[in-house]
């Protein structure tokens, strides 16, 4: 019997990762809902929402690691796909408010009433249905990535030039979404959400469910990435990363491969954004800020590029540090610390946390093996080698 395509690729670290995420995804919501408030083991709701945010960031980090760690495409605009997924979900949440908004208009969201929109813009239609919004969460980032990638990869834009145009893309979207007449709430964005699928977004139960769903999505995203990178396609991606023209002269259509992973990665980033928005309660143009995308790349670098587990870990570690430091007296210095972190990781841990750890383990194993061999030779039990 051949193992399923999603599970054949699991090694030990991957299995541990899935078990930990699944465990947290179950235990944290249960502890939040079942244990009495104030109990030592009870996870307060604000922490559930915070951890949910981390899980979404981890999905974004995985999507960046897939293209950067394995295919060498350094996108400094991946936050755009995350934000687009978030906006698609935000539009659904806005339409669910109905007549409970400040102006009580049953169709138009508050900002449209305020800005004197006569009617709902055409691109807001359909977002009252969850399935439609969920589809758009994947399709819109996917389509943008496909068009962008088709143009960029076919023209063989690579390296730093590609990074710069991805920055330009997210910056252009930032400016567009800031405009009031663009139809997405201008600089206030979309907020004041009430319900998701009929459940109150503020309720403990909904938050716990959203957290559990984010963990599930993280596991699924991880499995998809693992399946891709351990397939033969994954070997082609690494080949492209290491020697692009060699791969081309072997008869591989490099641009198709890049387009495939770039689009897949953007869809995953979109899903991450969609799960993020109901948990933080707002989506505004600042999510498109170029700095956000760069920060996400730093998470991956810190955790370990090309390791998947490391990317997710890096997202959680750096964001935990961010939460910790920005809520204390060190808050004004956070950006300096982030910059210093990036420089230190690049200089001291170029393989990131997970990459360095596995390299250390490999070398220890190799030393042990060598020691065992030399010990065996000294004892005279080693195989006799006539050549020596």
């Amino acid at each position: 019997m051949t193992p399923h395509v999603l599970t054949r690729s699991l090694d030990r670290s991957a299995s541990i990762f899935i078990l930990v995420v699944a465990g947290l995804g179950l235990l944290i919501p249960l502890s939040n809902l079942l244990l009495p408030a104030g109990s030592m083991l009870q996870v307060p709701t604000y922490l559930v929402a915070l951890f949910g945010k981390y899980a979404c960031y981890a999905i974004l980090a995985l999507s960046i690691d897939l293209i950067w760690g394995y295919c060498g495409i350094l996108s400094l605009g991946h936050g755009a796909f995350f934000a687009l997924g978030g906006y698609a979900m935000g539009m659904y949440l806005m339409r669910q408010i109905g007549s409970r908004g400040v102006y009580g208009n049953p169709i138009l969201p508050d900002f449209m009433v305020f800005l004197n929109y006569p009617e709902l813009p055409w691109y807001w239609h359909g977002f009252d249905m969850f399935w439609f919004a969920a589809l758009m969460v994947i399709l819109v980032p996917g389509l943008l990535a496909f068009c962008f990638g088709w143009l960029a990869f076919r023209s063989r834009v690579t390296g730093v030039y590609l990074s710069i145009i991805t920055q330009a893309m997210t910056y252009a979207l930032l400016l567009a979404f800031f405009r009031n007449d663009f139809g997405f709430g201008g600089n206030n964005g979309l907020t004041d959400f009430k319900d998701i699928l009929g459940f109150n977004v503020q309720a403990d139960g909904t938050r716990a469910a959203l957290f559990a769903l984010s963990c599930l999505a993280l596991i699924l995203a991880f499995l998809i990435c693992r399946a891709v990178v351990t397939s033969k396609l994954g070997k082609v991606l690494i080949a492209i990363r290491d020697a692009e023209s060699r791969t081309r002269f072997l008869g591989y259509r490099v641009e198709s491969y890049k387009l495939f992973v770039f689009t897949l990665s953007a869809c995953m980033a979109g899903v991450a954004g969609a799960l993020y928005v109901p948990q933080v309660g707002i989506i505004n143009p600042s999510e498109f800020a170029p700095g956000n995308s760069i920060e996400a790349v730093i998470w991956v670098a810190v955790g370990g590029r090309g390791t998947l587990v490391g990317a997710a870990l890096g997202a959680v570690v750096v964001n935990y540090a961010k939460t910790y430091f920005t809520s204390g007296p060190l808050a004004p210095y956070w950006l300096f610390m982030l910059g210093a972190l990036f420089i230190l990781v690049t200089l001291l841990l170029p393989k990131g946390i997970v990459g360095t750890f596995s390299a250390w383990r490999e070398s220890r194993k190799a030393t042990e093996k060598a020691n065992a061999e030399s010990a065996a030779r000294e004892d005279g039990v080693g195989e006799p080698n006539p050549a020596e």
């Binding site: 290491d242 081309r248 072997l250 490099v254």
Partner: protein, 253 residues
């Protein structure tokens, strides 16, 4: 579109009146050259003679400004890109050995096999016995069977050259373009490489660019000397190396 009505030449590779210039520098100047099926040809010439540029033209990396480049008498290579040309059956070894350093030797060869190269094909790829047998055969030919699970980056320079030749074999092309295969090799390795190329030539057409005259002599094949982007002399190694012009621009007195 890129396939002609009928065969115009019996040659496997046919270059006629090819011109390329980069910013006014004429890298290739009215170059005409034919390679018959099954032939092995050595290309020599001083630095800047256009040897590598010629390979770039044949493999689609550089488009000529003028001239005809036909493969198999039928296919106009100037209209195709690198991927299409590779799939037609032209393999190329680079001047600097280029292998996938962070992958194992076996994976390097697996990637080189001329099987389905589409995104879908590789995503749902499953190994089969035919493929692993082909890899085993190539590993034996290039004498890297014992190193199959080592990372290609850990190989010596000479072994990398061999691995890259092995990748060409796995690609199973009709025509092999081999750019400086013995650069940086010891005398023994150079000798072995000449033998390997002769063995490969029993089944395939080969074009070798090389500076090492001992090696070229050992190959014992027709030699073409390029100079300033055009053919200076052509013939046996003895004819070419006694040619006045060749001695003047390349071999030295």
């Amino acid at each position: 579109m890129s396939v002609m009505e009928g065969r115009t030449t019996s040659a496997l590779l046919y270059l006629d009146g090819v011109h390329v210039s980069f910013d006014g520098f004429h890298a290739i100047n009215n170059l005409s050259l034919t390679l018959e099926p099954g032939e092995m040809r050595a290309i020599i010439g001083p630095n800047g003679a256009g040897k590598t540029t010629m390979m770039d033209i044949i493999t689609g990396k550089t488009k000529p400004d003028e001239g005809t480049v036909l493969f198999d008498g039928m296919t106009d290579l100037t209209r195709l890109d690198e991927t299409q040309i590779a799939e037609l059956g032209i393999g190329r070894k680079f001047q600097k050995p280029t292998v996938f350093e962070s992958q194992t030797i076996e994976d390097n060869l697996l990637l080189a096999l001329n099987v389905d190269h589409s995104v879908k094909g590789t995503l749902f790829w499953r190994g089969n016995r035919n493929e692993s047998e082909r890899i085993d055969r190539v590993l034996e030919t290039i004498r890297l069977t014992d190193a199959r699970n080592r990372l290609a980056g850990s190989l010596s320079h000479g072994q990398k050259q061999w691995l890259e030749i092995g990748m060409l074999l796995a690609q199973d092309p009709k025509l092999l373009l081999v750019d400086e295969p013995v650069a940086g090799m010891t005398d023994v390795e150079t000798h072995q490489t000449a033998e390997l190329l002769k063995k490969i030539n029993k089944e395939k057409t080969v074009m070798v660019v090389e500076h090492d005259m001992t090696f070229v002599r050992q190959l014992g094949v027709k030699v073409t000397c390029l100079h300033e982007g055009t053919v200076l002399a052509e013939g046996t190694i003895d004819q070419v190396s006694s040619n006045e012009r060749v001695i003047e621009v390349y071999l030295g007195r």
